[in-house]
């Protein structure tokens, strides 16, 4: 594939795929359960645990129901894409590899000002934290760079390095576009016609925003959340070929987490309740994490 500077949203993704594929990563596809961040894909949360090496890159649609703006805000979306790389153990030259990816997408490191600014990452719903930076390009955060220390409440060993690129924001920067909906989705000179990000997603933002803020029935969400919560331990008790069903159980945790985000967007969670909901999800996640690590170590 060509190594030219990308010209469109999709070629930016393809460039990153190409780059990380050349570094030896497996290129995965998105997980098919709604998640709030690329980290939550089992390819990161679960694979970061246990002793086995794992190197993967993928795009993950990320849902943040509360961030919806009916398509009226130039850069806030309730559905957007994260590019996620996980390298376990983190290679010695991980920073250089990361900077190489920026060059691959067309950022000249002798013209742009790249800075690693302290930012310790934490995701309380999955009991995970790590140390690292947000990476700035000319004052804009283009990536989150983290060395995981704990996931699912468990210490990791070896340590995985995680890179997260906010694709829309990065594309807006690289292409000099001020409104996300104006981003060229495919090649603007395509023989089949140019398509913008807005033509693909604007209507989705409008409808989903209305559903997130007003459409979902809170009672139903709550009931579904509680069902998921009940099901996770039951699923973990079942087993196949001597292994408890941790992967389907983890999917249920993700569903519970998304249901919580929807309830939150609906304004159905009081401030005082928030911490307790997050704690409940974290407990479920910890159960899965422990079961997963047991399976990894046994194998």
């Amino acid at each position: 594939m060509s190594r030219e500077k990308p010209k469109s949203f999709q070629s930016l993704i393809l460039t990153l795929h190409d780059y990380w594929s050349r570094q030896g990563c497996i290129i995965l596809q998105p997980h098919d359960v709604e998640v709030g961040a690329g980290t939550l894909h089992p390819a990161t949360v679960l694979r970061a645990l246990g002793p086995k090496p794992w190197n993967a890159a993928y795009v993950q649609p990320s849902r943040r129901p509360g961030d919806g703006r009916y398509g009226e805000n130039p850069n806030r979306l309730q559905h957007y894409y994260q590019y996620q790389v996980i390298l376990k153990p983190n290679p010695e030259n991980m920073q250089d590899l990361y900077l190489g990816s920026l060059e691959a997408i067309g950022l000249d490191l002798r013209t742009h000002d790249i800075r690693f600014v302290e930012d310790d990452w934490e995701n309380p719903t999955v009991g995970a934290w790590g140390l690292g930076w947000e990476v700035w390009c000319d004052g804009m955060e283009v990536s989150q760079y983290t060395y995981f220390q704990q996931v699912g409440g468990l210490d990791v060993s070896p340590v995985a390095g995680e890179l997260t690129y906010g694709l829309e924001r990065l594309a807006m920067y690289v292409f000099g576009v001020d409104n996300v909906y104006d981003l060229p989705f495919n090649d603007p000179d395509s023989a089949l016609g140019a398509t913008t990000y807005g033509e693909v997603f604007l209507e989705n933002e409008r409808q989903q925003s209305e559903a997130n803020f007003h459409g979902y029935d809170v009672a139903v969400l709550k009931q579904q959340f509680e069902q998921m919560e009940e099901q996770v331990p039951l699923m973990l008790e079942r087993s196949y070929q001597g292994k408890s069903l941790v992967l389907p159980a983890y999917d249920m945790v993700l569903k519970a987490s998304h249901l919580f985000n929807l309830m939150n967007a609906r304004g159905a969670i009081a401030v005082a309740e928030r911490a307790s909901y997050i704690g409940r999800i974290r407990d479920l996640c910890k159960m899965c994490a422990s079961a997963w690590v047991e399976q990894q170590e046994a194998a």
Partner: protein, 664 residues
């Protein structure tokens, strides 16, 4: 004499941790070297975005040889004791020397090579470094603030060989991440090291980086007829974010200048770490900013300036959105929202806190010359901006935004100013509020915090003060003292809180050079009027510096010791002393002095003229000295009256301070 150069090279170290890291490295190295018997002529450390560096001058290449004396078992001790001692020392019994019935071993210890000691020292420093937060990486168990990449360690131009979990020492380091050559280079001593870093675009010394930033900013400003808005905290931070700090001036859309300048500055500083600029001699800001890049860009910084300008526009658009939305919303809906905000689980909601502050402000207002109704209204509105969008985004603008929004809403400017200033003073260098209205609300705010957290037993302990109660108490003290207010604190808090104030006042007075025992002596009177306490302490301090003061204190102690001793035998005789026999000159003199003192002392105390009161006490000095030197108190015929006289001295002085608590 040989020089030691050490560099711990890692991935980017958080800016806020660098200064302390340099200090910790210096302290640990000094301790280790001292323990090995080394006293370097000079030891300097540096910290930057990717490296901690130490240079120590004047180390010997080996420790001096030492002779050790070890005491062994007594002659005739059980054989096991002797066996153990011989094993420990590696000697045979005929090599021991008998001295005073004890076997002694004399061991010659060869001094160890300094390189060995340095290798151990570096390992101990790396493994024990007190980073506020540290991490592991890869398969290693080693902890460092971010992955540790290489260690340069040369003593007298030779590599000190060691390896810490696979990180090997050497004599190479690397330069700037983007501007230097990509390959590592050799440095065998500090001069080479500094020169070669400079050549590869790294400024080692943080002070030099700061100077470079300031100079660069000023040059940029000068060319555009601008003036830098200096910001020491920001300077400290950005100096830790770049190895080759290079100021770049960018433009800001001038339409944002209608936002409050504090909002623009806060947005620039907290989100983007930019310096603001202004036109010389004009208020407000100029529509530009300065960012501190880490590179000298090939295009002179055009792309960097344009990119940063775009990010700033997005940030300021957010701020503009909050500013517009907040002005539409106004105070009442925010107050409504405070019902849903927990202040503290045991102290209720923010709205409940507001109610308490309103009541307190109403009580305080008449005591500080403020209008009661206005004070209550200002207190009612003071916390509303916590629910505004802008304060949600920039918590440090609390109060200030409330003031802006109040003025925008056309509220009484005095009330707006009280809302704006009620968090003051926020630190030792922050001014205290001075308008009566602001004083009333500021005191109410802080007293509610203090009373509340004391009531639920969340008092500060040691270095832990999560609710910043010390700062609140100090704020109350400064507002009262600096405004010359007369407020009785006992009205607002229980004993433990009053004691806490006393403690804080002691710290304040001690910082001003006042002795804390004097504060104790005055507090013991049970007064809770800070202004009066300070006046007393000051007068007492002055008095005790005089000859009369010192001697009277000594006299007081003697008198009080006698009284204490006698008190142990039984209750002291009560009542006023009677006139002594006319021929006992010392007794008559003191009796008269006490009698003469009474009226003027009471008057001086009543008018709070404590210097005057001290002057009155000074009159006691001669008579007291003569009395204690010439009168036998325990004379069976006169004991009761003489004790009454001494008690009268103690009581008279006790009206001014508890002299018994004064040291010396």
């Amino acid at each position: 004499m040989p020089q030691l150069l050490l560099e711990l090279f890692s991935e980017e170290i958080p800016a806020r941790m660098q200064a302390q890291a340099a200090k910790d490295l210096e302290r640990m190295a000094r301790e280790h070297l001292a323990a090995a018997g080394f006293l370097p002529e000079a030891l300097t450390t540096f910290a930057g975005p990717r490296r901690l560096t130490l240079v120590a001058e004047g180390l010997p290449l080996a420790q001096a040889d030492r002779k050790e004396e070890l005491k062994g078992p007594r002659v005739g001790a059980p054989p096991q004791a002797m066996e153990g001692f011989l094993r420990k020392t590696g000697l045979t019994q005929d090599q021991l020397v008998e001295r005073d019935g004890v076997y002694m071993a004399f061991i010659e210890k060869k001094g160890r090579p300094t390189a060995e000691i340095v290798a151990e020292m570096v390992e101990a420093i790396v493994r024990g470094f007190p980073w506020p937060k540290s991490m592991i990486w890869g398969y290693k168990k080693l902890r460092w603030v971010r992955p540790l990449k290489r260690i340069l360690c040369v003593l007298d131009r030779e590599v000190v060989p060691f390896s810490i979990e696979g990180v090997e020492s050497g004599d190479v380091t690397e330069g700037h991440r983007f501007m230097g050559e990509a390959k590592p280079f050799v440095a065998k001593d500090f001069d080479e090291y500094v020169a070669v870093l400079e050549k590869h675009f790294v400024v080692l010394d943080v002070e030099e980086r700061k100077a470079r930033i300031l100079e660069g900013c000023k040059t940029l400003c000068f060319a555009r007829h601008l003036e830098l808005v200096e910001d020491q905290g920001l300077l400290d931070e950005v100096a830790g974010l770049a190895e080759w700090p290079t100021p770049v001036l960018g433009d800001m859309d001038p339409s944002f200048l209608d936002l409050p300048p504090e909002v623009i500055r806060t947005s620039m500083r907290t989100h983007q770490k930019y310096f603001a600029v202004k036109k010389p001699g004009e208020p407000g800001l100029a529509p530009h900013f300065i960012t501190i890049a880490n590179i000298e860009a090939a295009d002179g910084g055009k792309v960097i300036a344009a990119g940063n300008a775009k990010v700033l526009s997005a940030r300021l658009s957010d701020a503009r959105f909050f500013w517009d939305e907040d002005r539409k919303a106004g105070f009442e809906p925010w107050l409504e929202k405070l019902n849903g905000v927990t202040f503290h689980a045991k102290l209720g909601t923010m709205a409940q806190r507001v109610e308490r502050i309103v009541a307190l402000a109403g009580e305080i207002a008449p005591r500080v010359g403020a209008d009661v109704e206005k004070a209550k209204e200002a207190a009612r509105l003071a916390k509303a901006d916590l629910a505004s969008g802008m304060v949600g985004e920039f918590p440090e603008l609390q109060g200030l935004m409330g003031g802006y929004y109040a003025r925008e809403a056309g509220l009484d400017p005095e009330i707006a100013a009280a809302i704006q200033d009620h968090y003051k003073p926020q630190g030792p260098s922050d001014a205290v509020p001075t308008s009566p209205l602001a004083i009333a609300v500021a005191l109410a705010d802080k007293l509610d915090t203090l009373v509340g957290f004391f009531a639920i037993d969340e008092k500060p302990t040691g270095s832990k003060d999560p609710y910043a109660l010390r700062r609140a108490a100090l704020g109350v003290i400064r507002i009262i003292l600096e405004n010359g207010l007369r407020v009785s604190l006992a009205k607002f808090g229980k004993e433990d809180l009053i004691a806490f104030f006393a403690d804080r006042l002691k710290v304040t007075l001690r910082d001003q050079g006042k002795r804390h025992d004097l504060v104790d002596a005055v507090f013991a009177l049970g007064d809770d009027d800070l202004a009066r306490i300070v006046a007393r302490v000051e007068a007492l301090d002055g008095f005790l510096k005089t000859d009369d003061g010192k001697n009277l204190l000594a006299g007081y102690k003697r008198a009080s010791n006698i009284l204490k001793a006698e008190e142990k035998k039984g209750a002291l005789p009560s009542g006023e002393p009677e006139a002594p026999a006319a021929d006992s000159a010392a007794e008559v003199q003191l009796f008269d002095a006490l009698r003469v003192l009474k009226g003027p002392l009471a008057d001086a105390l009543k008018s709070e003229d404590f210097t005057g009161a001290m002057a009155q006490l000074a009159g006691l000095r001669g008579p007291v000295d003569a009395y204690l030197d010439g009168v036998f108190v325990n004379d069976p015929d006169h004991r009761d009256n003489r004790l009454r006289t001494l008690a009268a001295v103690r009581d008279a002085m006790g009206q001014v301070a508890d002299f018994g608590l004064i040291a010396g």
